[in-house]
């Protein structure tokens, strides 16, 4: 698990805004992601009611999580697989390592998994002499670049096509320098050719899971490249990394969520591949792994069940909240400093790494609510961000200057007569100081505002003073 650097959010966001390549890469969200999701939602008349159903389903599951996880485990065992319950990231890492050693693994192929990021599995395997090979195109690109994902479904969202070309030319130095990599399809073909051999070399395939189905013991992944299928079918062992809230009771329930997930994520009616895995290869199966393991991670989630933050666990990781977030549009994913960026990350990160280790994140939002308006499971993101703000304020994690400034202001706001008096003088002094100008270019104590924009000058007398005068004259 990489250490959170979320407390450096402000510095990192300033750097991100000054990075023209990042800004170019992020523009795809406003140009493509938002219109695509909007079209997909509009094309399905029952989309809004499906969001209600998805929310209700996830609420039901979270109320009966123990029951469905035990049912899932029993079904995995019945199909010849094994479930490993891991309370924290370290246990999960050790479990994966033990399994890889059982398989005498030298190479591990990987489909996209955010739980893999959460437990830092790549670095850990590499430290233990096992080479992890990412097979999702975006993950492959950032692995070559030694970066972490900046978006939960588009890990290389922060990289421009030109940068991908540079990375491939540098990393694939055995290929002719004269080859053309202008077209995205050429980049795709090159990655595919490079990865093809790696699939066959791999001893273990690790994937994530979008859903775990309790009634069948199946795990489900949603992909567009088919890499997940090769990753889990060719090696002798398939390890699924999943967190506990991914379980759903039935196949039917998985279908309900599948109707909102791709539409919210990419604007697709359905992703190109939806792959169901149930246990290891059976005698009649033409292919498949000999061993099937599910590493089930809690990592602090269960502590939030039944409490005010439980709603965050409804998340099905579609990424729509970050696609629609104006702050994410400005700074991208890395500024958030841990695994999950954007609005949902600003809720999950404090929950999983501690509020004090992610102080800026819940505050780095205008609470504009666009995330909530597109969330397929209707997570009330602004409400949950406010919950963390309240905890920060109550525990004095909020910076002292902000706390005392706020208390000072609130002292006046609770005393109308004094407030009136203070407002009267503020309006007069600012109006007088402006000397007939309409706006300030700079103003002491207002640097946060005037660094980037002018400040309109108060008209002079407050509304309340003018109103009192008007009433008196009538």
């Amino acid at each position: 698990m990489f250490q959170p650097s979320s407390n450096a959010f402000s510095e990192k966001s300033t750097e991100a805004i000054a990075d023209p390549q990042l800004q170019e890469a992020l523009s795809v969200l406003r140009v493509q992601s938002i219109p695509n999701r909007s079209k997909a939602a509009a094309n399905l008349p029952e989309f809004e009611s499906l969001r209600d159903r998805a929310r209700d389903l996830k609420n039901h599951i979270l109320g009966h999580l123990d029951q469905y996880l035990l049912q899932f485990e029993a079904q995995v065992q019945a199909s010849g697989g094994e479930v490993h319950w891991c309370a924290d990231a370290e246990t999960a890492r050790q479990t994966v390592l033990k399994l890889c050693r059982e398989a005498e693994a030298k190479t591990v192929t990987k489909g996209k998994t955010m739980i893999g990021e959460e437990i830092g599995i790549n670095d850990f395997l590499a430290e233990n002499g096992i080479e992890p090979v990412e097979t999702d195109l975006g993950e492959y690109i950032i692995q070559l670049r030694h970066e972490t994902p900046s978006h939960i479904i588009g890990p290389a969202l922060h990289v421009t096509k030109r940068q991908v070309e540079e990375t491939f030319r540098k990393s694939h130095s055995d290929l002719p320098a004269s080859r053309s990599l202008e077209e995205p399809s050429a980049l795709m073909a090159e990655a595919r050719a490079k990865l093809r051999d790696r699939y066959f070399e791999a001893d273990v395939g690790i994937t994530g899971a979008n859903f775990l189905i309790a009634e069948t013991g199946s795990t489900v992944i949603v992909t567009n490249e088919g890499n997940g299928d090769l990753t889990q079918t060719l090696p002798k062992m398939h390890i699924v990394l999943a967190s506990i809230e991914k379980v759903v009771p039935t196949l039917e329930d998985a279908m309900t969520l599948l109707r909102v997930l791709p539409r919210s994520a990419t604007g697709q009616e359905l992703s190109v591949y939806v792959t169901f895995s149930t246990g290891p290869r059976r005698q009649t199966d033409p292919d498949g792994p000999k061993a099937f393991h599910v590493v089930l991670l809690d990592n602090g989630r269960s502590a939030y069940l039944g409490g005010p933050m439980q709603e965050m666990l409804r998340c099905i990781r579609c990424g729509a909240c970050m696609d629609h977030c104006p702050v994410y549009h400005s700074v991208g994913g890395h500024a958030y400093g841990w695994v999950y960026p954007g609005p949902i990350g600003s809720i999950l990160t404090p929950a999983l790494v501690g509020v004090a280790n992610a102080e800026p994140l819940p505050n780095a939002s205008t609470l504009c609510g666009r995330c909530e308006s597109v969330c397929p499971v209707r997570i009330p993101i602004p409400k949950l961000l406010r919950h963390w703000r309240e905890e920060e304020f109550a525990r004095a994690i909020t910076p002292a200057v902000q706390r005392s400034g706020l208390r000072f202001w609130a002292w006046f706001a609770k005393r109308p007569a004094l407030y009136r008096f203070a407002a009267r003088w503020a309006a007069r002094v600012l109006h007088w100081k402006a000397g007939g100008r309409g706006r300030f270019k700079s103003l002491p104590l207002a640097g946060g505002w005037t660094r980037h924009r002018d400040l309109p000058v108060p008209q002079g007398k407050t509304f309340h003073d003018q109103w009192r005068a008007r009433k008196a004259s009538r």
């Binding site: 109550a394 706006r439 002018d454």
Partner: protein
């Protein structure tokens, strides 16, 4: 005054920004409400809706402010604010703040149900659209996030602006995007806020409009301040000023 039936009486929640920076917006609201046939009162005991405290995690102070505000406005049938943000606080968040208080929870609920954003009140409650003013201008409209997503205000200001003679309205691209104001956000994260308002002003300039209108003074001050820093001549006004025909007042940030 006592003979006026309560259903013809409206209490104006002025908002702290209008009180301090731009009282003309408050008087425009009063004028419109009076034109719609209401008597307007301005309860003395009001200050701010408490959002700076609420959105900064200071729950105790927010609750105190909410109780003061409810007590000040409780006698009125209708409470109207020339702001989606402040009316959203009164309507959506006061009941949440006081939900666990057996005495105040029902009072907050009853109060919240009577709170309206100005254009919403004019269209939905007053059924008023006798706007008889003109403004030769090419306008675009910024929906504040709270108007749009908390108060469901989108059609109402457009319907009223449609009555203003000679006014042409062009819609913004990515109209549902936040302008980057966000209350204390804009000074806590100035660079991000700036990046957001730069996207907004680019979208505004792209419409070719000569006026930018909105229903929230926070957004308006942010957008006006940025446009003016960029050297733009686009005029920025609260929608109430245009609807009330009070455009002789200098636009936001302009000298007298």
């Amino acid at each position: 005054m006592a003979s006026i039936p309560p259903q013809r009486r409206v209490a104006l929640f002025v908002t702290c920004l209008v009180d301090l920076f731009r009282p003309s917006v408050g008087f425009a609201a009063v004028k419109l409400l009076e034109q719609a046939g209401y008597v307007v009162d301005v309860p003395e005991a009001q200050t701010c809706c408490g959002q700076p405290a609420y959105n900064s995690g200071d729950r105790a102070d927010s609750i105190d402010i909410a109780r003061n505000t409810i007590a000040a406005f409780e006698p009125y049938e209708y409470i109207v604010a020339p702001s989606g943000s402040c009316s959203g606080m009164l309507r959506c968040h006061y009941p949440e703040l006081l939900a666990d208080d057996p005495e105040w929870a029902p009072r907050a609920q009853a109060f919240a149900a009577r709170c309206y954003e100005l254009t919403q009140f004019l269209v939905e409650v007053a059924g008023f659209d006798a706007i008889e003013v003109s403004l030769k201008a090419r306008c675009t409209y910024h929906d504040s996030c709270s108007s749009l997503r908390e108060m469901n205000v989108k059609a109402q200001p457009r319907r009223l602006l449609g009555k203003v003679k000679s006014l042409e309205l062009t819609e913004l691209g990515d109209a549902e995007a936040c302008c980057g104001f966000g209350g204390t956000f804009c000074v806590k994260f100035p660079d991000i806020s700036n990046n957001m308002v730069e996207r907004k002003t680019a979208d505004i300039v792209a419409t070719g409009a000569d006026h930018l209108l909105a229903g929230d003074l926070g957004c308006l001050m942010n957008i006006a301040g940025k446009l003016q820093r960029q050297g733009s001549s686009i005029k920025v006004r609260h929608v109430a000023e245009v609807l009330a025909g009070m455009t002789e007042e200098p636009a936001i940030g302009e000298a007298e």
